[in-house]
Amino acid sequence: MTRYVLKRIGLAVITLAVLSLIVFAIAQLLPGDVGRAILGPFATEESVAALNRELGADRPIVVQYLDWAGGILTGDLGMSLGRQAPVWEVLEPALVNSMKLAVLAFLITVPAGILGGVVAGLRAGRPTDRTITVAGLSLSSMPDFVTGIFLILVFSIWLGWLPVTAQWEDGAGPATQVKHLLLPALTLTIVLFGYIARVARAGIVEALNADYTRTAYLKGLGSNQVVRRHVLRNALLPTIAVVATQVGYLVGGLVAIEVLFNYQGIGLLIYNASQQKDFPLLTAGVLVVGIVYLTVTLVADILYGALNPRIRFVRAE
């Protein structure tokens, strides 16, 4: 088990390093002249050169990368150009907000998805199954902001039950916060339901057809007991893996939803940074999103390995 964990951690670290290289390359190499990219085509040569000197963009590329990466490892993410403040100060509240939304969405989506998948799996092939599966996948395929718009139209404008934006006043209590977050969270539930239900369903179907299920029935266990004791546990395993991959989307992929609901999460931050050409903030934000994803998938991998011993002995691809 320890070897498995160490191997996984090693892979994650390597992937993170490669990711940082890629993000750095895109942000520093693609624009050509960083100073020019920030100041625009009408700035003078002197001001561009001055900005480049200030940003350290006139140093050799390798030095720039090592400086940036080293800074991140020590917790210094640089200065945000747009906000004139340390990047982390700007990033941290946004990250917290994204986490709040992700947790709420998670709490609603995962039980709903698993329930849907289990029901569909237990009635596989029958109309209930087809309805749940097709509906789930259709709803999942709609762009998230489109789903969000529909929900706004129904629940905010037509019914007037929920607020349109996800902004609450300072010092609002948790109940108010949840009320404001409900629409985005429901949007996410609709988007993710299909994926989670599909995996849960597949797990149930596979478990129902497995030998150990047949044994359980032959031992004389009733349907309920079989499902509860044997089928569910094995069906839920792959669901963990899928849920983990969705967390990456939940914490950073929500750019469109955060723009739509005007929610100060990390997605909106990245979007605003892009509008202002605030490269330090933008790259840091993107990297943080990647870090969250890699961390969560790492934890999920380890969890999966702990729960399913067979996985540990397969050579990691």
Partner: protein, 286 residues
């Protein structure tokens, strides 16, 4: 099975059977009908739409749906119904182009990593893993900002490039299995070069998963184009493209809901139906 004169080859028979299965699935038929409708609109929109979607702005501003204007009018006095009809064009150009680009690049990458394995495979796989750690929108926003262009074709290329690792991964898995088979070994022993083996022996036999990937990614491409356009990257107003319309008017959703609701419904219908067809194709190949 060697081709016997007069009898269709195994592959032809299988293709015919698949096509028959597809035509019999109701969800695929509905999906194909709707997608077909939007394609017709994209091609012949100007003739179908009752008014000019871009320049005919003489109607009363911001009117809710009426008999004359079933989808209402927008703040510029244009007929929303006409705009929705013509709005399918850009999406139906960009999304397939991006998906095609991603499929071609991804197949090439998957072939190389799956066939050669070794250090090349390891390095490229790490890069693929790293890119996949980021949601599509995030990478796209990063690249668009770095390149500093909102041109539609830049967005097309970016989406294509971002799809490449995803598709490469599937192709690689298929190539890995295929490359173990004896006929590949036989080809190598015959002295055939690697390029030949990859392109002439392996590729035709991994086409099914590639086709499935393409159709699945197509839905995702439409999603990506719509989202990027909604955020302001890519297709710009006054294009009647659906997401561009939403970009223009979502702030005014209360009370001008019709300017946003109908384009949104259009996007939803296209994406859902493309996915219905893609699902059908995928089931048929499995």
């Amino acid at each position: 099975m060697a081709p016997t004169p007069g009898r269709p080859s195994e592959a032809r028979v299988a293709r015919g059977e698949r096509a028959r299965l597809l035509v019999r699935t109701p969800s695929v038929l509905i999906g194909a009908a709707v997608v077909g409708f939007w394609i017709v609109c994209a091609l012949f929109g100007e003739w179908i739409a009752p008014h000019d979607p871009v320049f005919d702005n003489t109607f009363p501003f911001s009117e809710p749906p009426t008999r004359d204007h079933p989808f209402g009018t927008d703040t510029n006095g244009r007929d929303v119904f006409s705009r929705v009809i013509v709005g399918s064009r850009d999406v139906l150009l960009v999304a397939p182009a991006a998906t095609l680009l991603g499929t071609v690049l991804g197949t090439a990458l998957g072939l190389v990593t799956g066939y050669f394995r070794g250090a090349v495979d390891d390095i490229l796989s790490r890069i693929v893993d790293a890119v996949l750690a980021l949601p599509l929108i995030v990478i796209a926003v990063l690249i668009v900002t770095a390149v500093d262009s909102r041109s539609t074709w830049v967005v097309t290329v970016i989406i294509g490039v971002v799809f490449t690792p995803l598709i490469a991964r599937t192709v690689r898995a298929a190539v890995l299995t295929e490359a173990q088979l004896d006929y590949i070994e036989a080809a190598r022993l015959r002295g055939e070069g690697s390029m030949y083996v990859m392109l002439k022996e392996v590729l035709p036999n991994v086409m099914p998963p590639i086709i499935v990937e393409f159709t699945v990614r197509l839905g995702y491409a439409i999603f990506a184009v719509a989202t990027l356009t909604f955020l302001g990257f890519g297709i710009q107003p006054p294009s009647p493209d659906w997401a561009a319309q939403i970009n223009e008017y979502w702030n005014l959703i209360d009370p001008y809901w019709w300017m946003v609701a109908f384009p949104a419904l259009a996007i939803a219908s296209l994406v859902v139906c493309v996915n219905l067809v893609a699902d059908g194709i995928r089931e048929v190949y499995e």
